[in-house]
Structures are given as structure tokens and as C-alpha cells.
Point group: C2
Chain length 344, copies 2
DNA sequence: TTGAAAGCGCTAACAA
DNA sequence: TTGTTAGCGCTTTCAA
């Protein structure tokens, strides 16, 4: 035993009560005399007694904590979402355990299983880009683990979901470029099977269509590692530079891909980099400092984290099995940068 | 009971053994027949048995997990350090529980106490800017909780520490500005009592002294919220703009303060912002994109996380009480930006 | 080689 | 109102 923690037994012994009396006094039991309660509470206070949450978890099969699985903490969107998650969780008496998958399916599975076996009361998850098969999650969900998806969701599991209005974001970002005079608009995005990829691509296509610009498949680059690996982005940029009809603008559908692309452009072809119009999803706070400047689609990350957590806690604390689920869609915000305003 | 987890009891019942036999078989016991062991292991494999880590923790007083307390996950330095921590921890069979204090002392205490009561086997911590009094940590440490400090350390507790060479970083960043022709160099930094603040300030002073530039107290701004609150930085910038002798350059001693200052300059006085020379601590990957460009002091965050974790695990797994402690100091890296090279 | 039983810290059904 | 006891899942003496 590493720590000499005081237990309920110590209190009982010191005060001459039974452990159950002490237990009842501590948890504000009703079936106990005011006097005893007072004595126990005072003593507990004096010796700074803290109940052992592990013992509680073992007993109650719950831990008053929720698990979070994101791809990457260093991503602005996710770190802001985590802040939203914590803001609600703490106020509701839950602790938050954060894990990251690094866009790796195996790591994701390990994290989820660890969280589940540690008796988290529920799970908030945004899927890794490698996660196509989520049967492992499905079986956990069927066993009764409350799960709420956010950002990268899956159709395969029927539960609450919180997403940004990805179609709108893609549409507005693309249309903004079009209205600024660009016509050859490339699209860098995530792995093809992700929900966010599909939705943002739809928005992109819709904007093109509205303005009678034909969709060009060779303008779309799916980056499986979501910008985590700079080489992948460098290659994508090189690829579009090789096209006979180089894009004159890019709509980039993800936080890390946006910044990685800017870095790649800077390295590869400065002249081109300065001329190209860029709009992209990012929650970076420093985007206004970027040169070349970009127009930004910002997701309400903090609010998404909050709402997902509220839904999860509702699920956890529900007395009856929940069968009605909702998908909350929050609007994105287009922050235009004056210098992107017009094609140079 | 939410989950229908299979327990050792279920296996025992199904196989007609006692729970203790199953337990022994599962943990590769010696005092058990090969035959029984095989049967149990096969069956456990078949039903995908997973031991309940909570029960194990309760029994063994350890959890094979380490707790991490940082100020803010969204800070580049910390998210990179966390990646380093995880890389070592996972390979050594430890899980990592991340918490953030938001530079708030009370939150820090809550996090640490929660982690401790959850039986983390050890703690990695970088102190919040509000944490002057760390007696709460001290008493935990005296009770036997292994602690390793990184980045923001304290003298008050005698244990392993991992820091960057903050003096060097401060010296080089300041001298670089001097060599670029700047002479009126301001200094934005963290709360005064932090170890990193003192060390970086010393580096700054040493560089000034080496080049016979007098130290000017009114050029130093201590930002207690470490850049978390933009208003504080805006005010600091306004303050130095009011000085009769405006600084012509700034050495900024922290990640978030660096970016917040750039944002403040951009908002407040564009002309001044473009002329001023800036060098600052930051681990941002997108610093090359910044305009105005800045010269960067980069800390080896990933390696710091790794080394701190190695030290912690050594502490945790040591058979004998450890009495010799070391402080590892890792060198910073100065990344000069051509445009900062010369005073305009 | 195996099983019975105690115990980690706590709660709660049941008895008194 | 209070105490006794069993049990959450697991390990580990002690006995057989």
C-alpha cells in the first residue's frame, strides 16, 4: 500500500461506530441521528477524509467520469471542443478522461476498450480517419455503454450526434472563392469514407453547380492522414501543380490540412502560393496572422463539445432506456479575409 | 449493473474450477498444471475475457496509469509534450490521463487530488501560473506519490525535473534582436514567480548586459494569465505603446503570449506592428506563416515529455525509495526568420 | 495442484 | 437509529 489513506473503517474505529453508520453519515443519510451525523462529519472533515473512488466504482459500476476519444489533441478544433466538454462535465460532477487516436484505428480501439473497462459512464468520440469498421464500438453500445458522436460520426450506430453544418461550410467557402473571381477550385479533404468528408464535398459540389462550374475529379485530393503527415500534403500540392490546368484556388476541408497546405505552398512554389485563393476549415486562433491570408470556415467547436456532453449526460442519467436520438447540427462561420476578397 | 462483463467467476463456473485456480491460470501462475492453464486460457480467449482494472486497482493500489497536469492542452508546447509522454507511457504499459488547469490553482488542486485518489501510479505536472503555494503537492509527495515536474518546476519539492534551457533560449532570442540592430527591447513574459519566467528573464538580462544595453524595468510585462486572456496582452501592448521611448523590438517568453501579442499588434497599431522586431518562445508549427514574421525559440517539447515520463516510470518501478534526483535541461532551438534579420 | 476464505473500501439489504 | 453481513472482481495466503 503506497498511500496511507484514511478509510471509513478508520473513522468507525476512532469514533466507535460501525462502518455502515459512518457511511450513512457521510452520504447525508436520512436514517441517522443528527448527532451522530454531526460527529462523523466533523471528524471526517478534521482528518480530511476522502472516499476512495476506486472502491466506489467497483461497487457502483460507474465512475462519474466520461471518456473522450479524439484524433489529435494538438488540433485546434479538438482542443476547443475538449474545453467545451470539460465546461459542462465539471459542472455536472463528471471528470473527463481524454485520449487521442492519432488517426489510428488500432489506437482508437485500445483507447475505447480501456475507457470502457475503466467504467467510464459514457463516451464522446470523433472517429479516426482509419476507422471504417466500427463493430467494436457497436458491440459496446449494444452492451449499454452510452455513446455520443461528434464531428466525425457514423451512421452505423443509432445514438445522439453533434456535427457542424458541414454542407453549409463547404458551400460558403467554395462560393466565396467563386465570387472572388476564381473558377478552377481544387479541394483538399480527409479520407473519403468519413462523414465530414462527404458532407463538405457535397457543399463544394453544390456551390460549383450553382455557378455552372463543372466538377473536376482530378481537383480533389483525399488526404488519408488528415494533414498529420506533412509529406502527404506536400505530395498533394505537387500533384495539383503538375496539372495542365492548375487550380487558381483551393477549398480545404480540414484544420490541419489547411495549415499543412499553406506550409507546403510556402516551401514548393512561392509565386504560385501567393496567387492562389484559399479558403479552408480551421479553428486556429492565429489564422489572421497567416500569409498568404486565408478565408476561414470556423466550426463552433466549444459549443459542439458542450452540446455533445449535455446529450451524453442526459443519456447516462436517464432512468429509462433511451430510444429517440437526435442529431444536432451547428452552423459554421465564414470569416473572410479582405485579401482573399479578390482574385489578384 | 450496466455492463454484462464476464468475470473470473463466470469462467470458474463454466469450467468447474475455483476462482483462485482461474486467477492463477490467467496470470501465468507457476503452481498450476499446464493442462488446467491451457483450458482456462483457451476459454478466456474464446469469450474474450478482460480483467476488470478497477478491481485490480482496488486490490493492488496501483492502476498502471500516470496522470498529467498541464495548463492548457491547446498550447502547442503542451500538446507536443503530451505526445512525447504518451509515446513512452504506452510502450511501457501505462495509460495516460490528461487534465488541464487552465492556469487556475484551484482547478489544478482538484485535478491532482482526483488523479491521486484514482490511484495513478505517478504524476507529471507543469504548474499553473497561479500556483505559488504547492503545499498540497508536497504532502502528496511525502505520502509517497511519485512526481516529476516538467517545464514549470518548483524548488520546494525534491524530485526529478525536466526543463528546457530557458536561460539559453532567452539569451539567444534577445541577442538575436540586438545583433539585428534593435536596442530598445521589451520583454513580455509569464507570472513573475514561475521558474521559467525567472530563467528566461535572466537570459534576457544577460544578453542586454553583454551588449551594454541598460535593463529597463518598464520594458518588462508580466502577464499572469500567460496569454490565455487576450485582453491582458492587448493592455500590455497598449502600455508599451504609451512609453515615450517605445521599444523597437520584443522578446516574448511564452508560446501563447507570443501569438496573442502578434494578434494584439495587428489590431492596435499596424504600422508599429510591422516595424517591430519580434522573437519569442513558441512551438507552433505554423510560425513560418506568420506575418509579421518572428524569430522563434522552440523547446524540445516532445523530448521533454519523453524524458519526464522515463524518469517517472523509473521512480514508479523502483524497488527502493529514491533519494537521488536529477534535473534534465534540454537545449532550445533558435529558428531565425530572414525578415527579422535586419532592422527595417 | 487445487480450493476455501479473507480482504482491498465502500454501500445497502436485513436484523436488531 | 444503529450494527451485521454480504458482495462488487480480483489476488493471495493457508489448508487440503
Amino acid at each position: 500500500m503506497r498511500f496511507e489513506t484514511t478509510t471509513i473503517k478508520d473513522i468507525a474505529k476512532a469514533l466507535g461506530f460501525s462502518t455502515s453508520t459512518v457511511s450513512r453519515a457521510l452520504r447525508g443519510g436520512y436514517e441517522i441521528s443528527e448527532e451522530t451525523k454531526r460527529i462523523v462529519l466533523e471528524y471526517a472533515e478534521k482528518i480530511n477524509y476522502r472516499p476512495n473512488p476506486i472502491a466506489l466504482s467497483l461497487k457502483e459500476r460507474r465512475s462519474h467520469s466520461i471518456g473522450v476519444v479524439v484524433c489529435e489533441i494538438a488540433n485546434n478544433f479538438f482542443s476547443q471542443a475538449i474545453n467545451g466538454i470539460e465546461s459542462i462535465a465539471y459542472n455536472s460532477g463528471y471528470h473527463v478522461i481524454i485520449t487521442q487516436s492519432n488517426e489510428n484505428h488500432e489506437r482508437e480501439v485500445l483507447n475505447v476498450e480501456h475507457l470502457a473497462s475503466r467504467s467510464v459512464d459514457g463516451l464522446l468520440i470523433s472517429l479516426s480517419s482509419e476507422s471504417n469498421d466500427i463493430s467494436y464500438l457497436k458491440s459496446l453500445h449494444e452492451k449499454g455503454l452510452p455513446i455520443v458522436f461528434f464531428d466525425r460520426v457514423s451512421e452505423e450506430i443509432n445514438t445522439h450526434k453533434v456535427i457542424a453544418n458541414n454542407f453549409q461550410g463547404g458551400f460558403e467557402a467554395t462560393e466565396f472563392l467563386i465570387k472572388s473571381g476564381y473558377t478552377k477550385i481544387g479541394h483538399f479533404t480527409n479520407a473519403a469514407h468519413l462523414s465530414i468528408t462527404r458532407e463538405r464535398l457535397e457543399g463544394y459540389k453544390a456551390a460549383l453547380e450553382k455557378h455552372q462550374i463543372p466538377f473536376n475529379e482530378s481537383y480533389v485530393k483525399y488526404c488519408s492522414y488528415s494533414g498529420l503527415i506533412q509529406d502527404e500534403i506536400d505530395a498533394a500540392v505537387k500533384d495539383i501543380l503538375k496539372l495542365k490546368e492548375r487550380p487558381d484556388a483551393l477549398f480545404i476541408a480540414q484544420d490541419k490540412i489547411s495549415t499543412s497546405t499553406l506550409l507546403a505552398l510556402r516551401k514548393l512554389d512561392l509565386e504560385y502560393g501567393c496567387k492562389i485563393g484559399i479558403s479552408g476549415f480551421t479553428n486556429s486562433n492565429v489564422a489572421p496572422l497567416f500569409s498568404p491570408p486565408i478565408t476561414v470556415v470556423r466550426q463552433p467547436a466549444f459549443e459542439m463539445g458542450q452540446q455533445a456532453t449535455q446529450l451524453l449526460i442526459k443519456l447516462i442519467e436517464s432512468k429509462h432506456p433511451v430510444t429517440e436520438f437526435e442529431t444536432k447540427t451547428l452552423n459554421t462561420q465564414l470569416i473572410t479575409h479582405s485579401s482573399t476578397n479578390r482574385k489578384l
